[in-house]
């Protein structure tokens, strides 16, 4: 599904990613852990196509297609979804309008029929319920005045509605209380399927108790310095990153 080769990325003239190799097969869940500032969010932004993140070397293939040639919204329509570490507040655009516009734009881009208001409302309520997102929240401006945890649940709602084939979750667990963490993890797990891959960025082993990964990577100083199974996360929890040669970048 995703093949990253020797990826070097520069932001504002500063090299942040210094040769990443990463293969994520269909149906797999990969966790990426690593110290603050190691480049985890940078990697997620590069996948989503954010402006200002310049690929200076290497390649990213998504289902065999060169991602660099695709615009931000094209990537989304092709099935890439990023749950933001810091979701943006958009005053004046209600969450409901936003979700409907996004879903229908993707459907249109894929040549599918757009959903009318009634069918959309039914679908969004069905997806929102298990995430404890109520109608009142949906009617408010997108993320405006949402608590930290509400923002994260709204991100997962977007994912569940848009049904991407590759979901990148950037610290979706941070800021969640214990119950919300379970709710969100259940939401994510419900989406696991042989056709869908996930990259879960987190600082906490606790999340990985709920969303059990197939592979765990340690990203440090812009490189993947260690790759292992789910037990790697447990080791990291005990010993920290120092043992993996992870000095701060």
């Amino acid at each position: 599904m995703l093949e990253i080769r020797n990826l070097h990325v520069t932001v504002d003239g500063k090299e942040i990613l210094k040769g990443i190799d990463l293969d994520v097969a269909a149906g797999e869940v990969h966790a990426i852990m690593g110290p603050n500032g190691s480049g985890k969010s940078t990697l997620s932004y590069v996948l989503a196509g954010r402006e200002g993140y310049e690929v200076t070397e290497g390649s990213i293939l998504f289902n065999g297609q060169d991602l660099r040639e695709m615009g931000v919204d094209e990537r989304a329509a092709a099935g890439i979804f990023l749950a933001f570490q810091y979701p943006l507040e958009i005053p004046g655009v209600t969450t409901m309008t936003f979700l409907k516009t996004a879903l229908n734009a993707q459907r249109k881009a894929r040549g599918e029929e757009e959903l009318d208001a009634v069918r959309f409302l039914k679908l969004v309520r069905e997806k929102a319920k298990p995430l404890n997102v109520n109608d009142e929240m949906l009617k408010r401006a997108l993320n405006v005045g949402y608590s930290g945890g509400e923002k994260k649940r709204a991100e997962v709602l977007q994912m569940s509605l848009l049904e991407p084939s590759l979901a990148v979750l950037d610290e979706t667990d941070s800021g969640l209380d214990i119950d919300a963490l379970k709710t969100v993890a259940e939401g994510v797990n419900a989406m696991r399927s042989p056709e869908r891959s996930m990259i879960v960025i987190t600082h906490y082993q606790r999340l990985l108790d709920y969303i059990v990964p197939d592979v765990v990577h340690v990203l440090s100083g812009g490189r993947i310095v260690k790759t292992g199974g789910k037990e790697l996360a447990l080791e990291l929890e005990k010993s920290g990153y120092a043992a993996y040669g992870a000095d701060a970048a």
Partner: protein, 440 residues
């Protein structure tokens, strides 16, 4: 040589007065003398130009000299409105409608029968013999006389207008819609008179449309008695070759409320000026607007609110979106007189630049002579947030659609200040449509 050129448009108006004065409404009475005095004063002052502080960013003299408008002809025949959303705006609402073509009232196209008792709604020529109309026409609205030149021109040449009087305690049953259609090129001069007596209530919707190279000069004088309430929603969407000059003068009585909103989409050059004066305590004025401009459009909003008495509240918000090489202007002033304690006066202007070549000039001012007041003013100019665009696009929303959503979001809170709920939705639709045109 320059001097001669700059007087051209003013001379055209003076000539137009000379040739029309015997046929203009009220030619045989007191108004003829008023008109003569007005044209004399106008001839002395000429058209406003940029050396005047209030006209710093809009050179009306130069604009009109260049355009060289002749008087618009009287249009008698059938009328075909353009097939635009603006031309049919408000038409789905239950309303009384007065149609003006080239500035003249067309009773045959209007529908304003069965008015409630206590409501009078007529063309200007029909009310000139009445004392209330005379009082309004002779009233001194803005003590600073900032609108004087423009109002003199209008007084001299006004050929028609809407006159609405609502008697004490009477509520207008449905909105009055004034549809101004510029069918042919040329200048028209319109005077609207609105008198709401004590406790009266009414809503006026106003739309200005047309594809002609027209110059609309409109003065609307409003007097609200104690406790009266006027809601006013105006849409201006005339052609890129048109010039629009609208002056609203309002006197607001004790506990009364004036709420006016203007959406500006059209015209090459437009200027909307409001002069509001509180005449009694506890009154409120809302003077707000939104605009969306492209190409070389220029729109100027000028607003003075005079807190002459205590305990009144005023709020002015203008927000605009500027694309192409368009130019927006906001000049505003809140005056708080020495006795006007407990004043709450606010002015805010915000612009969103969609292109590097667009520009905004903003100058909100406070002039405060009382100490126990709450006043604020501010102005911001910004661009669409790249982060917000990225966020929307990362969900699959194409860039043009993402921009449209963000622009609508930017204007949404000011449109929310428009007083009539259904009209508000219509304005939202028009702004949304404006953006679709832009992306073609």
């Amino acid at each position: 040589m320059n001097e001669v050129m700059t007087e051209k448009a003013a001379q055209n108006f003076i000539d137009a007065y000379e040739s029309a004065r015997t046929v203009l409404p009220g030619a045989d009475g007191w108004l003829a003398r008023r008109r003569a005095a007005a044209i004399e004063a106008f001839a002395g002052a000429g058209l406003p130009h940029r050396r005047l502080e209030e006209w710093k960013y809009t050179d009306l003299r130069q604009t009109l000299d260049k355009a060289g408008f002749a008087p618009a002809p009287e249009h008698k025949g059938a009328v075909v409105l353009p097939e635009t959303a603006s031309a049919s705006a408000f038409s789905a609402l239950d309303r009384h409608v007065l149609v003006f073509v080239n500035g003249r009232y067309r009773a045959d196209l209007s529908k304003a029968a069965r008015l409630p008792k206590g409501v009078e709604l007529r063309g200007l020529a029909d009310v000139l013999t009445e004392q209330w109309a005379k009082d309004l026409l002779e009233r001194r609205f803005d003590e600073a006389r900032q609108a004087e030149q423009v109002v003199d021109l209008n007084t001299a040449l006004m050929s028609d207008g809407m006159c609405l009087r609502i008697r004490k305690g009477v509520k207008l049953d449905k909105p009055v819609h004034l549809l101004f259609f510029a069918a042919d090129d040329g200048a028209s001069h319109t005077r609207n008179l609105v008198l709401l007596e004590e406790g009266a209530e009414g809503t006026i919707l106003e739309s200005h449309v047309g594809e002609a190279a027209s110059f609309a000069d409109i003065v609307t004088d409003v007097v609200l008695g104690n406790g009266a309430r006027l809601d006013h929603v105006k849409l201006q969407d005339e052609s890129a070759n048109a010039v629009h000059l609208a002056t609203l003068r309002g006197e607001v009585g004790a506990e009364a409320r004036l709420s006016s909103f203007t959406l500006t989409l059209g015209c090459g050059v437009s200027r909307g000026q409001s002069f509001i004066r509180f005449a009694g305590e506890g009154a409120e004025a809302q003077v707000n607007g939104a605009y969306a401009l492209r190409a070389t459009q220029h729109a100027d909003q000028f607003c003075v609110v005079d807190h002459a008495v205590p305990r009144c509240a005023s709020n002015t918000v203008f927000k605009g979106v500027l694309d192409g090489q368009s130019e927006g202007v906001f000049q505003g002033k809140v005056i708080v007189r020495p006795d006007a304690q407990k004043t709450d006066g606010r002015q805010m202007t915000q612009a969103l630049l969609l292109s590097r070549d667009a520009a905004m000039n903003a100058k909100p001012e406070l002039e405060i002579y009382a100490d126990d007041v709450q006043c604020a003013h501010g102005s911001t100019v910004g661009e669409l947030s790249k982060d917000a665009l990225f966020y929307l696009r990362s969900r699959g929303i194409p860039e043009a659609e993402a921009r449209r959503l963000l622009v609508l979001a930017f204007l949404d809170d000011v449109i929310a200040l428009a007083p009539h709920e259904e009209a508000r939705e219509i304005l939202r639709g028009l702004v949304s449509g404006w953006f679709e045109e832009a992306s073609i």
